[in-house]
Amino acid sequence: MLWDALTLQLGYNATLVAVGATLLGVSAGVTGTFLFLRKRALVSDAISHATLPGVCLAFMVLVAFGGDGRNLIGLLIGSALSAWVGLLCMTWLTRHTRLAEDAAIGAVLSVFFGFGIVLLTVIQTLGVGRQAGLEGFLLGSTAGMLWADALIIAIGGAATLALVMIIRRPMMLVAFDPEYAAAQGVAVHRIDLAMMGLVMAVTVVGLKIVGLILIVALLIIPPVAARFWSERSDRVVLLAGLVGGMAGYLGAAISASAPNLPTGPIIVLVSFGFFAVSILLAPVRGVLAAVLRHLRFQRRVHIRQGLLAMAQDQTIYEPLTLRLLRRAGLLRADGVPTDAGRARAAKALRDEKRWEIVRADQTHEATAALYDGLRDIETVLTQDQIDEIDRQIGGPQEVRP
């Protein structure tokens, strides 16, 4: 069943949804990356919640003029307008009052959403009996999606993607360093608004499939997951698009393969799956890699400190240092250094003295900056340079292990 779904063989409607969800995932992932890198991920939450009053007002206007209240284009235009008003309110609050952005986001999202709920109940009391479709915008409803709806989503998604590609450079510049961008003559405020406009477009396009509460997930989770795999912004953008697209496609397919699997939540959970794998297993930024790195580093620090203490006949109190030294065979169980330990300790102490000379000498300035208490001096200086330093120190030559 799942295989049929994955190969788009579950019928017309399921195929439409899968194609639409994939396109939506790609454009949300790509657009969301800029938002995430600008550290404003949750702005999307305000934008998406602010669509609700617009949807309701558009419905009321459509009905008042005798049209079909469920006309998707009409509803999407309404949602875009009210999301834009919400966005302007939020920007105004952060620029002209003392509110921080998080408070402005929360205020706009709760107030607009609350007002939307008021309008929803007004529509219910109007007794038109055709409002059922509107609740679908909260969580998305792909049942009975029409060809025309899919077309709107496809065109909207593709258009957003094209726009992102056109203004990606200034957006990245602003996300990385807004002050530098301003100095370069980039209109930072306008680029920010354009970025938000694109987020709004993705939100509006995604209302039908995942709904306004969960569209935020598609804008945030794929970029966050992608960030773990690359330090290059252009790759993060591509990866986020890929993750978003795959989540959309897989989510839609899984949702079509069995009853009671709503499309929106499944897509979100699939993207979270990608995120979970990324945060745990990514090679450099992943948790597993970081834990291993930290343990290795801690071990180096403790051994080095222990060796220096041993070389100066100081007592070592740190239990971890003692344990590590014993395990490395540098210290006997009774606390007396082994021969290997003695040799390494002497070498460590001599290296410290060498570093001292290097750091006091202006001709070695670039090398001195590399000092971190751990680096072996052989990795930064040639044997000739080390010999020269040893001549300055004088005294006995190092004991070779």
């Binding site: 580093f297 801690q298 620090v301 220096l308 971890l320 102490l349 202006q362 004088g394």
Partner: protein
């Protein structure tokens, strides 16, 4: 061989750690993969004005923060008046670097100073007239009495710095730790602050200051602690603060001309 290479930096007249207001042993702190402070020992002398000196990024503030338990060290331990830090908190007052508070916070100057009395007040103790008087007195000592009703963000940088010093004074501690109190302040503030620090010393208190202006070290301080990730030297200014130790601390980063100038000033 051991007397050939002194690894831990020059220490002149090693004071006894048991009596020291602040003693640090084998302290290593790292942010990420590079230690900011590596295996440092420090013994602060009771009743002295001590400057912690070193180039940018040499771990001066980190040393102070780790000694106070604000950042977690990778290894090493700290004693305050010979005991564990937690038991002696009431005897320490700390003045942070300017950037670390929320300047937009709804609070007046006098409220900030009253925060210094919070250990004395406990959780629910009422602020009485004598607490108020004490806070005003502390403000007076830093010359900020007339600003007590202002919101903290409405003051200039130097004035803010003085308010935080007043808060530390209100704590009535035995050990005062100040992180770059003179950074970016006006001359009037610098004068006010150093005046207060010297009066603290006269009252038998111990003061440790992270400092960056080499030109004023001899005027302001009794002792210096030179650090560049490792400890370089520690002791009375007259002995531990000289061209050699400065060269070792700053390396190529300090112009030779500057060092010459300072050595001339030192005589």
């Amino acid at each position: 061989m051991l007397d050939l290479v002194s690894d831990r930096g020059v220490t002149v007249e090693e004071p006894q750690p048991e009596n020291s207001p602040l003693a640090v042993r084998g302290l290593t702190v790292s942010y990420g993969q590079k230690p900011a402070v590596f295996s440092v020992d420090m013994t602060v002398q009771l009743g002295a004005l001590t400057a912690i000196i070193g180039p940018n990024g040499a771990g001066k503030s980190t040393l102070l923060k780790a000694a106070l338990g604000i950042v977690k060290p990778l290894s090493g331990h700290v004693t305050v008046f010979g005991q564990a830090l937690e038991d002696q908190r009431a005897r320490i007052a700390y003045v942070p670097q300017r950037a670390s508070v929320d300047w937009d916070f709804p609070t007046r100057v006098i409220d900030v100073v009253l925060m210094g009395l919070s250990r004395q007040l406990g959780l629910l103790g009422r602020i009485r007239a004598r607490h108020m008087a004490r806070a005003m007195d502390c403000l007076n000592r830093v010359g900020m009495r007339d600003f007590s009703d202002r919101q903290i963000g409405q003051l200039s940088g130097g004035q803010q710095q003085r308010v935080f010093l007043a808060r530390a004074l209100a704590q009535d501690a035995d050990l005062y730790l100040l992180d770059e109190p003179f950074a970016g302040v006006d001359a009037a503030t610098e004068k006010a602050i150093i005046g207060v620090l010297k009066s603290l010393k006269q009252a038998g208190k111990t003061v440790v200051v992270v400092h960056h202006d080499l030109a004023t070290v001899t005027d302001y301080f009794d002792n210096v602690f030179l650090i560049n990730t490792r400890k370089v030297a520690e002791g009375p200014v007259a002995q531990a603060f000289n061209a050699e130790t400065l060269q070792a601390t700053y390396g190529g980063r300090l112009a030779t001309a500057q060092i010459d100038q300072i050595s001339r000033a030192l005589g």
